[in-house]
């Protein structure tokens, strides 16, 4: 490499060296600053969590806001150094969460005969609230979803399914729902709990064979549907208990 001679060359080297020094100094300050900010933030968050522990535990709206705040800054309250994560560490929410999990299992298992192991989220929240003897709104959909996450290590196959239209279902059996079955669940939701072959064929453009196969599988193999053979218009209707609205 050709190097310049004379004063200019010397200057150039010195300048770049000084720039490098400055740059590393700057980044060091930045890292220090960031680190102190992080410590500050951690302290503040744990201080906040400790002072508002009661509100977080008892007030669903507050809990929701706190959860949202955590997720917007990229903190997952369920993750953490200890089992149970932040909820357990900062809020003592671990027990509450596990307890809710047990009650979710209770409801899912006790309604399984009826719904074949798939329950609508709203219904699950309602039944869990009833079990806890609390008014509606105290346990939220979000709490249930979080609790189901804590159940995952058990490998029982509890899973939240999004069936579209803002509707969620909780599956409590280790059974894969294929895409067609998910569509059927969603359409049955729209109809208020039932579905017939003609609707699926018209709305989804499915062939008769595909429709019948999917419905009969749900009916016979999975027990996710009940048959009604007295339907006035279609003769044979499939009712999905997890999509039916039960006033009990």
């Amino acid at each position: 490499m050709h190097r310049g001679v004379g004063l200019a060359a010397f200057d150039k080297e010195q300048v770049s060296q000084r720039f490098a020094e400055l740059s590393s100094e700057l980044s060091k300050t930045q890292v220090d600053h960031l680190q102190s900010q992080l410590t500050q933030f951690r302290t503040a968050l744990s201080h906040f969590a400790t002072t508002h522990r009661d509100s977080i535990r008892s007030d669903p709206a507050f809990r929701h806001a706190f959860q949202q705040m955590c997720s917007s800054i990229g903190v997952d309250p369920l993750a953490g150094p200890r089992k149970g994560g932040w909820w357990a560490e900062m809020l003592g929410m671990g027990d509450w969460q596990y307890e809710l999990g047990v009650q979710i299992v209770d409801v899912c298992v006790s309604t399984r005969e009826r719904n074949g192991g798939v329950i609508e989220m709203g219904e699950l929240v309602r039944m869990v609230s009833k079990l806890r003897g609390v008014e509606s709104g105290v346990v939220t959909e979000e709490d249930v979803i979080r609790s189901i996450k804590t159940l995952q290590p058990l490998g029982a196959g509890y899973e939240v399914l999004d069936v579209g239209g803002g509707k969620k279902m909780v599956r409590s059996v280790v059974k894969e729902l294929d895409a067609d079955q998910a569509v059927i669940l969603a359409e049955a939701q729209v109809e208020g709990g039932w579905i017939v072959e003609a609707i699926l064929e018209n709305r989804r453009g499915w062939t008769g064979q595909r429709t019948r196969a999917a419905l009969e599988n749900m009916l016979l193999r999975d027990g996710l549907c009940w048959l009604d053979s007295q339907d006035e218009h279609y003769g044979r209707a499939y009712w999905v208990p997890s999509a039916m609205r039960w006033d009990e």
């Binding site: 074949g116 709990g193 048959l227 007295q230 609205r245």
Partner: protein, 189 residues
């Protein structure tokens, strides 16, 4: 459509499942079938107790106008149980010993045990004791159709005979032939 409970004209509270159309169809899936059979069985027995009905026949599902219309039909959703389904429910109840084919050797009518014969035996003995009729001879007719309504009013004779047989095993009753048929004498238990 929300599934809700409903109170019938006779004052019976129907469970919300009774407003679900598929409740009236015999289910092809075994688990579902078992679940709904249990719901139907419970409904039939509680309704029988409510209206003091002792006998259920396949014909009750064949045409309207039977004592069972309030549960075997649901006009609000235009559904009714089909005779074949009712017949299979009756078979399930007989298998669980909460009903018996009466008379025997046919499958079109059952006698319902919303109280088991053992329970009827206790009711019968308490009634005889409370009304001061121990040691006197009573005809079956005097028990099933007493001048003052009793917990035993309307009890079918075959069921009454079963209850008395149970009591006689513990020497609390004795069947006696009387002029116009059969009678019974109760003893202190």
């Amino acid at each position: 459509m929300a599934l809700s409970t409903h109170t019938t004209p006779s004052g019976f509270l129907l469970p919300s499942i009774h407003s679900a159309p598929p409740f009236f169809t015999e289910q092809p899936n075994q688990t579902t079938h078992a679940h709904l059979t249990e719901q139907w069985t419970r409904l039939i027995l509680t309704y029988a107790r409510h209206k003091r009905l002792f006998v259920l026949r396949v014909e009750d599902a064949e045409a309207p106008g039977s004592d069972w219309d309030e549960i075997l039909r649901n006009e609000r959703i235009n559904r009714r149980i089909l005779p074949s389904y009712l017949s299979s429910l009756m078979a399930a109840m007989v298998a669980k010993n909460i009903a018996v084919y009466e008379p025997a050797k046919q499958t079109r009518a059952v006698l319902l045990y919303w109280r088991l014969p053992e329970e009827w035996a206790d009711v019968l003995h308490s009634w005889a004791t409370a009304t001061g009729q121990l040691n006197t001879i009573l005809t079956f007719y005097e028990i099933s159709d007493p001048p003052i309504p009793s917990p035993l009013s309307g009890i079918p004779i075959p069921l009454l005979r079963r209850a008395i047989t149970i009591l006689s095993r513990s020497n609390r009753a004795q069947i006696i032939g009387v002029a116009d048929g059969e009678g019974v004498r109760f003893f202190v238990g």
